[in-house]
């Protein structure tokens, strides 16, 4: 048993057998075969792994490269606007880009000119055949008369089966203004290279072309319906008063948002034409004028604010005329000798205003007007901004400035100043951009609220009182207050008999919300016009052409129409019936 176990042990003791000479000899015999096979395996594995590595690299590369969708990135199907839309406060489109086509023809490559003309006439019967024929016979490249082709017209042209050599169709983006003339002075125009050349198109050119913001429409504070009503009324007024131009501005006095800005004459934005005539300037923002008696309100406000006067302060023995630097200053009409401050504004007394300004003093008066921002260039959202003319202050200047003579500003600045006086004395910045909101707490108070209240009451009396100069604007239910201004126009530094009539109104006076400014440029007397007073009395054959006889009438008509839209105190209005 012991021997067996020993043998078994010997056999199993591979531990030492591995090192036996016989084993080694045996391995050496097969070593070459093993070596060959192992090298093949390594070669194959190398190939195999290198292939894996290549695939892996390829996969990782495919994973890491940015996704390029070869199918959906066809430019033909995507309309990429080159300029953002412009919309009004109600989302009505005022300007939008769209694709149009231009078609050019090379007559040299037309094989059968007669057939071409016949086909062309069948497809486009409206085209001038003679003109087309002459152009084709000339043989020079030309664009079709109607440069801007619609999609349908383009398809019609394609259906003619003309070769690319003959017909050159070009797709371009074009800016369309669906409201045509309505906002011409505000929106402005762009040129062929998509560059804003006037209006808000120029002022916000970069924003409108910003690719990040291009899908968001530029929202304006303007209201298309109000704008149309006001513009329409101004156009109609031309028949009655035959003015050479007119302008209107409707503004929210609490936040400075402009609801309507009209300047006539205007122009169709869709028809490109260079407008160089002075008459086409934006009268509200660019026009710098002497606006006349509307400045008397500032004189009285300055007096009340500086505690120099009160509405019931009476000025006794007022002269009919005074002289300043040899020049006569007189009243526009016969007025009582004793007038209260209130009466001075209601009856629009020049001499009374001079007396108040003299009582205030030059520095205080100047400071007050400056605080209302009447003399510096206004910060506004358009390129077309006028700068009031600078002048030297003196005793005479103080006297004339007190009733709005020899002092200039833009109508926009005038409206701003009135808004400040009426809204409780808070500073506002006129704007046409809807996103430019400012909260009331951010506002700076320039004039005290007591002065503001007093001024509002006096302005209401200018319209409501029989002696007032603006009776025709007393629209029932809207508590209109305001001030008239009839200024003489100067040409080459000499005053002419031509007038620039202004009426600035605020309504409703008890809680002012809006200011409406109406300007008529050179209105004529309207003897044919039947004036209807608030008490029902009708008057015809009037030969005066001061503001009270034209601008006020127009303002009254406008307020009557826009009142229900603005929905001011409708309840109050209904209570009156």
């Amino acid at each position: 048993m012991q021997k067996k176990t020993e043998k078994e042990f010997k056999k199993k003791s591979f531990f030492f057998e591995d090192y036996t000479e016989s084993e080694i000899n045996y391995n050496e015999k097969n070593l070459n075969i093993v070596k060959i096979s192992s090298s093949r395996v390594t070669l194959l594995s190398y190939i195999f792994f290198s292939l894996i590595l290549i695939f892996c690299l390829k996969i990782t590369y495919l994973l890491t490269i940015p996704e390029v969708n070869k199918f959906s990135e066809k430019e033909d199907h995507i309309f990429l606007k080159s300029r953002a839309d412009i919309v009004d406060r109600n989302g009505i489109i005022l300007a939008r880009n769209t694709n149009i086509y231009t078609a050019g023809i090379r007559p040299k490559f037309i094989k059968n000119k007669e057939k071409f003309l016949l086909d062309f006439r069948l497809k486009f019967p409206e085209i001038d055949k003679k003109n087309l024929k002459s152009k084709i016979n000339k043989g020079e490249f030309f664009y079709l008369e109607n440069k801007r082709l619609t999609e349908e017209q383009k398809d019609k042209l394609w259906s003619l089966g003309l070769s690319h050599k003959v017909l050159e169709l070009k797709k371009i983006q074009h800016r369309i203004y669906p409201q045509k003339k309505l906002f011409s002075h505000v929106i402005g125009q762009i040129d062929d290279s998509n560059l804003g050349i006037s209006g808000i198109e120029k002022f916000l050119d970069k924003n409108l072309k910003n690719k990040k913001l291009i899908e968001n429409s530029l929202e304006l504070t303007l209201d298309s319906n109000l704008q149309h009503i006001i513009r329409d009324e101004l156009i109609k007024s031309k028949k009655d008063f035959n003015q050479i131009g007119s302008a209107a501005l409707l503004m929210d006095i609490n936040n400075g948002q402009i609801l309507s800005l009209v300047s006539l004459p205007d122009y169709d934005l869709n028809k490109r034409s260079s407008i160089k005539e002075h008459i086409y300037t934006n009268k509200i923002t660019k026009g710098v004028y002497e606006l006349g008696s509307v400045f008397k309100t500032f004189t009285i406000a300055a007096g009340i604010e500086n505690n120099v006067i009160q509405p019931d302060t009476i000025f006794k023995n007022l002269e009919n005329q005074v002289y300043c630097a040899g020049r006569k200053i007189s009243e526009h009409d016969k007025l009582p000798k004793n007038l209260s401050v209130e009466q001075i504004l209601i009856r629009s007394s020049n001499i009374g205003s001079i007396k108040i300004a003299q009582n205030i003093g030059l520095n205080k008066y100047k400071k007050f007007l400056n605080s209302l921002g009447l003399f510096q260039k206004i910060n506004f959202d358009l390129e077309e901004i006028g700068k009031p003319l600078s002048f030297k202050w003196g005793k005479c200047k103080l006297a004339t400035a007190s009733f709005g003579h020899g002092i200039t500003t833009t109508p926009l600045q005038l409206a701003k100043a009135y808004a400040i006086l009426s809204n409780g004395g808070y500073k506002i910045e006129p704007t046409i951009l809807l996103n430019k909101k400012k909260t009331f707490s951010e506002k700076e108070q320039i004039v005290s609220s007591t002065t503001s209240d007093k001024i509002n009451k006096i302005l209401r009396k200018v319209v409501f009182n029989k002696e007032g100069t603006a009776n025709f604007a007393d629209v029932k239910g809207y508590e209109v207050g305001g001030k008239t201004g009839s200024a003489l126009k100067s040409e080459n530094g000499i005053y002419t008999s031509k007038k620039l009539n202004t009426f600035i109104s605020i309504f409703p006076s008890s809680e002012p919300k809006y200011t409406l400014l109406i300007i008529l440029d050179e209105p004529k007397p309207a003897p044919q016009y039947v004036y209807e007073f608030p008490n029902g009395y009708k008057h015809k054959g009037e030969l005066r052409n001061t503001s009270g006889w034209n601008s006020v009438v127009v303002a009254g008509k406008i307020i009557e129409k826009i009142g229900p839209i603005l929905a001011i105190n409708n309840l109050q209005a209904s209570k009156n019936f």
């Binding site: 695939f55 199918f71 959906s72 199907h77 309309f79 939008r96 319906n225 149309h228």
Partner: protein
């Protein structure tokens, strides 16, 4: 000595080693030794790589299929996108057209052309008049309604009255026929008529003697209605006139 001899000498003879080991005490169990030796795992390599290979093969197959599917999806998406873009552009143009057509200026022009009336803005005072007119109109309609009601009632009455008149006329005709020949009348009627004559005679006598007592309200009413009926029928109220 050459190198082979040296290697032979230094070669360990296992027999020698085995003899040196005490057989009983230090008997080494080979099983134990075998188990202690780390066995060479022949399958580990192939297992390890086969796993990766299978994944790789699966990957190789799935990548193109997925890619093809995604390509098809991309095509579909692109088609949808193009149709969406076309629709978007159509909408873009349509809204522009809409704004042009519905611009206030255009609407007023169209109204002038097609409505044949000028749109008028009403004054507040006119609204008041409208209210007044409305009130008067409403009052008018009320009265009209009342008249209608009365007319309706009267037609009913008229019909009834007409019927009654017809009946009465027929009765009168019959009576006329009867009284035209008093001899042919039956005895009972003759007696009735005699009684009636007596009654009226006595009544007339009473009226003659005491006229105030003879007139009472009932009689007056009866007389009144009789007169009205007479007037309606065209019979003279005062006989002979």
């Amino acid at each position: 000595m050459n190198t082979e001899d040296k290697s032979k000498k230094s070669y360990i003879n296992p027999e020698k080693w085995i003899n040196t080991v005490s057989y009983e005490k230090s008997y080494a169990n080979p099983e134990k030794w075998i188990s202690t030796v780390p066995q060479r795992n022949r399958y580990r390599f192939s297992k390890k790589y086969s796993f990766f290979i299978t994944i790789f093969i699966i990957g190789l197959i799935s990548v193109p299929t997925i890619k093809n599917k995604t390509r098809n999806l991309e095509k579909e998406i692109s088609n949808l996108k193009t149709s969406i873009n076309d629709l978007k552009f159509d909408l873009h143009k349509a809204t522009l057209d809409y704004e042009f057509i519905t611009s206030p200026e255009n609407i007023s022009l169209l109204a002038k052309e097609h409505l044949n009336i000028e749109l008028v803005h009403y004054k507040k005072s006119q609204i008041k008049h409208i209210n007044d007119d409305y009130n008067s109109i409403s009052m008018l309609t009320e009265t009209e309604n009342n008249d209608l009601y009365e007319n309706k009632i009267s037609t009913k009455i008229k019909k009834k009255v007409k019927k009654n008149i017809k009946e009465k006329k027929q009765e009168i005709e019959k009576i006329k026929k009867l009284y035209s020949n008093p001899k042919e009348l039956p005895e009972t009627i003759k007696n009735q008529v005699a009684k009636k004559i007596k009654k009226t005679k006595s009544g007339l006598q009473q009226l003659y003697d005491e006229p105030k007592e003879a007139i009472d309200i009932k009689k007056i009413q009866r007389w009144g209605t009789f007169q009205v009926v007479k007037a309606f029928l065209g019979i003279p109220v005062v006989p002979g006139k």
